[in-house]
């Protein structure tokens, strides 16, 4: 699937949170949204998965306006892994993942054998098969996150939206979740905090600051020391790793940043 966001803006009260953002996700590509806290990453994603209606602009999936779809049609096309407090009711892990099948079910449909297989496969893909009968509320943050990824997998959409999918995960599962999403061959857009993960997994990066896109392109073009300093206010060194062939970023401690600034001023 192909996502096209054209000049999308969204504001709350008097504050404009998303400012005329345009971006493209080519079919099968993994696009990363990076930027400091409060830069509008989550709000932009919410506009895309139809929780916040943009004040202006167009969002289209394969040419169809996302906001022209019904909630059900949208859920058949867009799978979302979001960070949300997941209620206080004791659903089992299996029941949580089974919810991913609901956009494909009519009112009187029962869960079919196929649904159950899809749920089992999704649980196996995130390594949570042994937890199927456990209560979701008793899981650790990382385990919950993997179950929510499994639910999006069970939804079987060709497009995935992930809001900080690696939060709460230890490094092994961070890599695993991103490997998994890359391996699915679906189009995906993810808000990411970790610039090294963004460099390692994303085909394209969009950098948001103050709700607007300030840079975009492949990681090697975007992640320059100058841009990192402009957006995050920190000094960093960037190099290409021999084994991965990808960029990696090393941040300098803030006190060194001050020293460097001082030295430059002299």
């Amino acid at each position: 699937m192909q996502l096209a966001v054209e000049q999308v803006s969204w504001s709350v009260a008097s504050a404009q949170i998303v400012r005329a953002v345009s971006l493209q996700c080519a079919p099968g590509s993994f696009v990363g949204l990076i930027g400091p806290n409060g830069s509008g990453k989550s709000s932009l994603l919410r506009c895309i998965y139809r929780v916040l209606q943009p004040d202006a602009g167009q969002i289209a999936l394969d040419g169809a306006a996302v906001w022209g779809l019904s909630a059900r049609q949208a859920a058949q096309r867009i799978g979302v892994v979001l960070q949300e407090h997941s209620g206080e009711f004791e659903f089992s892990v299996r029941e949580m993942v089974l919810m991913g099948r609901s956009p494909h079910k009519a009112l009187f449909d029962r869960d079919s054998a196929a649904d159950r297989q899809i749920v089992d496969a999704a649980l196996a893909q995130v390594g949570m098969s042994d937890f199927a009968a456990r209560s979701f509320l008793t899981l650790s943050g990382g385990e919950k996150q993997r179950v929510l990824v499994a639910r999006a997998l069970a939804q079987q959409t060709r497009f995935l939206v992930l809001d900080e999918p690696t939060n709460h995960l230890d490094i092994h599962y961070q890599l695993e979740v991103l490997d998994l999403v890359r391996g699915l061959g679906v189009t995906a857009i993810a808000a990411l905090h970790d610039l090294n993960l963004a460099a390692l997994y994303c085909d394209q990066l969009y950098v948001l600051k103050g709700g607007a896109v300030v840079a975009s392109g492949p990681p090697e073009q975007v992640l320059t020391p100058a841009l990192i300093h402009a957006v995050y206010g920190v000094r960093a060194e960037v190099a290409t790793h021999q084994a991965t062939g990808r960029l990696y970023v090393v941040f300098l401690p803030l006190r060194m940043t001050v020293e460097v600034q001082h030295a430059q001023r002299i």
Binding site: V51, R72, Q73, L82, E95, F108, D120
Partner: protein, 362 residues
Amino acid sequence: MSQAATTPARVAARPLAASRLSFGALLLTLAATLLLSVTLAVMIGPVPLAPALVWRVALHQLVPSLVTPDWEAFQANIIWEIRFPRVLLGGLVGAGLAVVGATMQALVRNPLADPYLLGVSSGASLGAVAVILLGITWFGVFSLSVAAFLGALLAFVAVYVLARQGGRLTTGRLVLAGVAVAYVLSALTNFLIYNAEDSNQVRSVLFWMLGGLGGARWDYLGLPALALVLGTCLLTVQSRSLNSLSVGEETAATLGVDTSGFRKQIFALTSLLTGTLVAVSGGIGFVGLMLPHIVRLLVGADHRRLLPVAALLGAIFLIWVDVLARVVVAPQELPIGIITALLGAPFFIWLMRRTSGALGGS
């Protein structure tokens, strides 16, 4: 991931199949228990009656040719005109309140929701009292129920709007909004009663407000029964949406639920149920709070199981509470609301302590 992936899928699938089988058995058991409870509840009273007599009278009433009457007329009267309507009304009210409670809890994502606690019953009472005291008959014989429905709807929407801030509902705000709305509505109700001139009307209002099943008649049962069947069916077929809504509003939206339309539907259905129930039984508290929670412990949070089981268990529960209300200080009767409050308030406190992490916070 690699080691878990070797777990055969069949192993994971087994508990689901097993629990579905036991779910059918559970429904059958509950249905049988309900039937037994109705029989026993009709038998128990100042005039003791044999179980066979109970059902022979009932059968004779339904299909007169099947059973030849060999009983005294007063026995038939007690069974068919007094006890049956009362026991069945208890069942309807219990089932309805449990379903309403479970649904409200899913909507506000909070196990502390209950039509009584959130002021919805107060809204229904205000509507009903206004109809009785002001002599409004715009909707004929249904005026009382329609007014109770409108009052319930108004109260529920008010509480929801007050408790919701920035798309989030916290327990603290929810309970406070419920209390505030309930106080305002009760004050209005009291104002109406205080200003009423006809003392007979006031007496009938006060009697009705105490709540209870004492005045049950066959013609009271139709509307609540219709609302119960309609509401429970409509909600149960939308269990998937209720499930995802109870997890989170944003989650529900991303899983294909038209959240604002579904929310309106829930407001309408729960208010319809609450209104028609309150119109015939007054405000009976805490049933909608306790039953869904107990049922979740039994069958889990999936509304496909939760709603039918809550309805059956709610019916059984209230039938027995009413039996208790009839016998505990016999020949006097205890208002049924006293017993549900005595059971429910400690339950509420226990539940609140258990979920206190959410109180006032996110």
